[in-house]
Symmetry: C2
Subunit: 241 residues, 2 copies
């Protein structure tokens, strides 16, 4: 295993550059940390390069593995106390055929990285087929998003697409805070649906409201404006699963 000791090494610089969205898009790569995430990424066959401060069991020959010290790990990682491994992965691609996406959640411009990551984690937990993102959402490979997915990013397809592409094939169920929409408890079960959830501050945009087959709300106390979007998504996904 080759050892890198300088932060000016090209491999380190190239990996560090992936902290920027622009570089991630250009290279089709992203940076992630942690042993459990590495294990899941390896099972997924997307790992290109590993930087590790501890010995690793054997990995496939086409993966570059470099020994580094904790200072370099800390430079590349985003958590305060990284575990000692950082790796470069290929951007993930959808793995299912078009007609295999039955249960989906569509996120309209979610801005908070923690919310996006947590919604992905919930969607994977409830066996959804995809988390689909509208343009204008926080970047999926933002390090805070990745951290809050807790590895579930490797268990569910997450991709950008236009909601209109699902209008013919799926029930479009739009979450709103409008008390005149159906309360969640009245909602029947569907086999093919896209649950649409809007941004923290603006809700679902007009464009997507027009595509709704059903509008639904989670009844809450009149003194409270809204639920946190990840909480509302969790409750809705649990119900519709």
């Amino acid at each position: 295993m080759l050892e890198i000791i300088s932060k000016n090494n090209n491999k380190i610089k190239e990996a560090y550059a992936l902290k920027m969205k622009k570089t991630r898009l250009e290279k089709g790569l992203f940076l992630m940390e942690g042993f459990k995430n590495l294990e899941m990424a390896l099972a997924h066959g997307v790992v290109k390069t590993i930087f590790t401060s501890v010995p690793l069991s054997k990995v496939a020959e086409d993966i570059e593995v470099y020994k580094v010290n904790m200072d370099l790990i800390k430079k590349l990682a985003s958590s305060k106390n990284p575990e000692g491994v950082v790796f470069v992965s290929e951007i993930l691609k959808p793995r299912k055929k078009k007609n295999e996406y039955h249960k989906n959640i569509y996120l309209d411009r979610i801005n908070d990285p923690g919310n996006l990551g947590t919604i992905i984690r919930s969607a994977a937990a409830f066996n959804y087929d995809a988390v689909i993102l509208a343009k204008g959402s926080v970047d999926l490979y933002n390090e805070k998003v990745l951290a809050s997915t807790k590895g579930s990013i490797f268990l569910i397809d997450v991709f950008y697409d236009d909601l209109a592409n699902y209008k013919k094939s799926h029930k479009i169920i739009v979450s709103t805070i409008d008390k005149n929409s159906s309360p969640l408890s009245h909602l029947p079960k569907y086999d093919n649906f896209v649950l649409v959830v809007g941004s923290e501050s603006h809700g679902v945009s007009e464009e997507y409201l027009h595509l709704a087959d059903i509008k639904v709300n989670i009844p809450i106390d009149a003194k409270i404006d809204s639920l946190n979007v990840a909480i509302a998504s969790g409750i809705l996904m649990y119900h519709l699963k």
Copy 2:
């Protein structure tokens, strides 16, 4: 309205000191920001001092109001783009009689401020009577907790207490990831209960598991370890409300 221009002014120093838990406990006061929060705190009758960069409508005579510039607002506030008002409030006290706490959630050592604040917001949205905290939870008046409550801290009682005090009067429903416990969908409704949720990394402690009348789990995919604790709490509270 008196104007303060120096960051060395005693009123500013006293308010700034409330960023520390130790000072909050000593003084029985905490620091908060934002117009909506101020409005709710005023309605609650707990505001002692207001620092504002913009003219305010008249407030009660026993409240001190100081005009300050945005530099001082930024010093006292915790958000990146504060709205122009920061205030000092009395620590909140429970407002109900013992026998009026019917629907409650008990949090066993929640560490993440965002999770605690979000759970308080959900509990208020679902008309719970109290959020009760075990010792060892993140401090309620931590500024990140307060920010993520979105003002709901003034709408629901939140206090520290021992779970054992509720054993005789309430059904103790403990949330677990144990697949052998009752799935949530099998759970009946209760009039008097305490829903117990454990820490992000350790779940509910043994001490509280022993007090359980019912153990419940939210069924999830076997490949996922757990839901985020605020998501699990949201789903459970919605169901039990």
